[in-house]
């Protein structure tokens, strides 16, 4: 019964989404207030039915309803309740349901939070465009990936949730990532609504900014959580693999990074508005491209969902339709898009333009590397893949100018500035970064090109952000930063922390695979590693062989580490459960390999030391926090007054 209830809710949500996609749009066209005012109520109904559908699936999982195929495949009687909840979005079908629930949630958030900010006709258009997007996803779910399909009679017990997903990070990683993906549809909807309205670019860009920033923050957080999960759960000790599925999340992130910076220019100066619109469209299109990569199974990847050509064709057609329609509208309306004020070579506009060029080129590189094998295969030229070194080389090339120029941006004035004036307050930061960066790298025994440039670049970003703070404090007697400024300082410094982490991990990671028998003691990398015993342990739905290590530095005991090799009852899957001790400057990381069967009970054990690896995620966390702070800037949330709106073409000389 519950599954049927979910099924009906899904269909009702589709009906409401179809109404939402049409009626308010017609209302905005005919200036019919009644039709426009229907949008928020439809959004509420749409969300309620999606929530009902989601709860129906979650209940089926929690109650072990194995007559639902999705439950039978992804859950079993032994699975603890919290992982049964994770299993709700552990499969392709369930994750789509969460995707749509989050889309419904964003629509609800826009309808509630921007209620006073947006004029009626604009709100109606934004919600209608999001309604169209929802229609597409609901059709996709109902036609190709119904999570409520039944099998009668149901099996007495289900199979298993992939053990790799039986982890607490899986409770928050996918929803967070989807918040980011789906959030890009908000920026898309604002751009389309802006094109439909055909006037006042500056205003809609300002309205759109907090939503884009929030979506970007969630996308950053989602990618960071995924990286962290891969680090401790996959057992290889890597934090990024340039895997197609990772790239699928990284491409929209790069485009969205360009977008939030382009929006700043368009909002403040009215310059490159057409580019901002294009980026808004591209951000959502690349999200759909990512969905295609992950859900069609065309690319061999570590964690793509199952192969199904029908789904791939649907998503691809949907992507072509959405992008094509948006670009067609753009082509028709672009001539009406205003042109902004000109700007000099040394100006805030130029620095942001440089950011945009590098971010979009980096995105293009990643797209090329990800899709090239697919293209070659389609052409029948053989099967190839692109090695991670391609991405690393290209990415470092792209990052160097970005890191070098980033601190200059905030100091540069709009319109026209003087290079000397921009550079002088940063002199101390630059000198300090070079001296301290080199000194720290030498003190850490990491005197190599990567580590030294990483420290210098990272400190340059952090000190550059602090210099901006100092500068603002000197300028005003009392330090009062806007949310946007605080967010920018946090995010830019966060990139600095991230850069240091990456440079240290990539240049100084220690790794050895060694033989350990119970009682063995070995000296490795300045630590003493002692294996006391290897013992069997039992969990709720698995049994494991556990190594019990004690790690000493000199005579001092540092920590005990217990890595496991787990065997899950259902499906008999073996999984490595690493044991690690996190630290400010290094992680100790142990993984069990395999028994050597030489009669001594010895195992192959992998020992790794990851220097400064926490800085990678902490930096990304600062970026996320910065973006959320910027999104809360009061200026974006001022109630709408019709008098604010300026007729198209006339540009008041607003101070930046």
């Amino acid at each position: 019964m519950i599954a049927e209830f979910g099924q009906i809710s899904l269909i009702l949500a589709l009906v409401l989404a179809s109404l939402l996609a049409t009626l308010p749009l017609w209302g905005a066209y005919r200036n019919n207030q009644a039709l426009m005012n229907m949008a928020p109520s439809l959004v509420v109904g749409h969300f309620v039915f999606l929530l009902a559908a989601f709860l129906a699936l979650a209940t089926s999982f929690l109650r072990h309803d194995f007559t639902v195929i999705n439950v039978a495949i992804n859950s079993n009687l032994l699975l603890p309740w919290y992982y049964r909840l994770v299993a709700t979005w552990g499969s392709h079908e369930g994750s789509l349901l969460v995707w749509m629930l989050i889309l419904g949630g964003w629509m609800l958030a826009v309808a509630l939070l921007s209620r006073k900010v947006l004029p009626n006709y604009f709100m109606a258009r934004v919600l209608a465009v999001m309604g169209m997007i929802s229609v597409g996803f609901l059709l996709f779910t109902i036609l190709t990936s119904n999570p409520f399909d039944r099998i009668l009679p149901g099996p007495p017990d289900g199979q298993d949730l992939n053990p790799l997903l039986q982890d607490w990070a899986m409770i928050i990683h996918p929803p967070m990532l989807y918040m980011g993906y789906v959030g890009m549809s908000v920026a898309f909807a604002f751009a389309i609504a802006g094109l439909l309205s055909g006037r006042m670019q500056k205003e809609w860009v300002r309205w759109s900014r907090p939503w884009t920033l929030a979506a970007w923050a969630f996308l950053s957080a989602g990618i960071m959580l995924g990286s962290w999960w891969a680090y401790y759960e996959l057992g290889w000790g890597g934090w990024w693999f340039w895997d197609p599925v990772e790239n699928a999340s990284f491409i929209p992130w790069l485009i969205a990074t360009a977008l939030i910076h382009a929006q700043a220019v368009t909002e403040k100066r009215g310059a490159f508005p057409a580019w901002t619109i294009l980026l808004s469209i591209a951000a959502f299109s690349t999200v759909l491209l990512g969905a295609f990569i992950v859900r069609s199974g065309v690319l061999t990847s570590v964690h793509a969902f199952a192969v199904d050509p029908e789904r791939g064709v649907f998503i691809l057609s949907y992507m072509v339709l959405v992008t094509g329609a948006a670009l067609a509208l753009y082509a028709v309306r672009a001539p009406r898009v205003m042109t902004g004020q000109g700007f000099g070579y040394v100006s805030r506009e130029s620095t942001l333009l440089v950011n945009n060029v590098f971010m979009t080129v980096a995105a293009a590189m990643v797209i090329l590397g990800t899709l090239y094998p697919l293209l070659i295969d389609l052409m029948g030229w053989g099967q190839i893949s692109v090695g991670p070194p391609y991405f690393s080389v290209m990415f470092i090339l792209m990052m160097i100018p970005i890191v070098a120029l980033m601190p200059l941006g905030p100091f540069t004035r709009w319109g026209q500035d003087d290079l000397k004036r921009v550079v002088s307050p940063l002199t101390i930061s630059a000198v300090a970064a070079i001296v301290a960066g080199t000194a720290i790298a030498v003190l850490l025994g990491a005197f190599n090109l990567r580590a030294v440039t990483g420290w210098i670049g990272g400190l340059w970003l952090i000190l550059g952000a602090l210099a901006y703070l100092w500068h603002q404090k000197k300028a005003a007697r009392r330090l009062r930063l806007t949310g946007g400024q605080t967010g920018m300082i946090l995010a830019h410094a966060g990139v600095g922390v991230f850069v240091i982490g990456v440079a240290m991990v990539e240049s100084m990671t220690y790794e050895r695979t060694v033989r350990f028998a119970p009682g063995d003691t070995r000296e490795l990398a300045g630590y003493t590693w002692h294996l006391e015993e290897i013992a069997p342990v039992k969990g709720k739905n698995w049994i494991a062989t556990e190594g019990r290590f004690t790690v000493y530095r000199g005579d001092r005991e540092i920590t005990r580490l217990n890595p496991q090799q787990r065997l899950y009852h259902r499906g008999q899957q073996v999984m490595t459960q690493v044991s690690l001790q996190a630290g400010f400057a290094r992680d100790l990381y142990i993984a069990m390999g395999e028994p050597l069967n030489d009669g001594t009970g010895a195992w192959s054990i992998r020992i790794q030391i990851h220097p400064f690896v926490r800085w990678i995620w902490f930096g990304a966390f600062m970026v996320t926090l910065g973006a959320l702070t910027a999104a809360s800037d009061k200026r974006y949330w001022k109630p709408y007054r019709a008098a604010d709106e300026m007729p198209a073409g006339s540009q008041g000389a607003q101070p930046a």
Binding site: A72, I73, P156, D157, G158, Q159, N162, L164, G235, T300, V302, H303, V307, G342, G344, Y345, S350, L353, V357, V361, A364, M365, L368, G369, Y372, G382, Q383, I384, S385, V386, G387, P389, Y390, V393, M394, L397, M398, T513, V514, R515, K538, I543, Q565, L567, H569, R570, G571, Q572, Q573, V574, M575, T576, A591, G593, E594, L596, D598, A602, S604, R606
Partner: protein
């Protein structure tokens, strides 16, 4: 031309030039890092330049896995049914690496022995990498990929 236009043109020119340069670098980097997928039969049939990075895919030959207790070097053989190629690797094998199962190794060929830098097996035990399935088919031994079925309570004793 007005000064504004001239300036715009200059900016556009700089952007186009730098994007072009980036594209050139990207394409050459791509060329250097392409890994061709080969089956054991491909390796057997043709002599490839030794320095080329390759992706070798096939099934791990039953009973072929052995590990040197001191150097921790693993050696095994990969087959597509028609031919098999010896592989060596230093490090931990993925947990789903099993004899008789599909595997992909990245590395290069050296005197007839494939030196793997990285060995991949899928997370999912029923999964057969696309490329491997096609290679097996080409060698005339299509592998039946069975869908997971519900099993009776299979717990092993410890």
């Amino acid at each position: 031309m007005t000064p504004t236009r001239k300036k715009r043109l200059t900016i556009v020119g700089i952007v186009v030039l730098s994007v072009g340069a980036a594209a050139a670098v990207a394409l050459s980097a791509l060329q250097d890092n392409l890994m061709f997928f080969v089956s054991p039969s491909d390796l057997y049939a043709q002599t490839l330049p030794d320095e080329r990075q390759l992706r070798l895919g096939g099934l791990v030959v039953e009973g072929s896995v052995s590990r040197d207790p001191e150097s921790m070097e693993v050696s095994f053989a990969v087959t597509d049914g028609a031919h098999s190629i010896p592989v060596t690797y230093v490090g931990l094998l993925p947990t789903l690496f099993r004899e008789g199962q599909g595997v992909i190794a990245h590395g290069r060929i050296d005197n007839g022995v494939f030196q793997a830098r990285e060995v991949l097996a899928r997370h999912d035990e029923t999964y057969m990498p696309n490329e491997v399935a096609r290679a097996l088919e080409a060698a005339g031994t299509p592998h039946q990929v069975t869908m997971p079925t519900t099993r009776s309570n299979a717990s092993s004793d410890y």
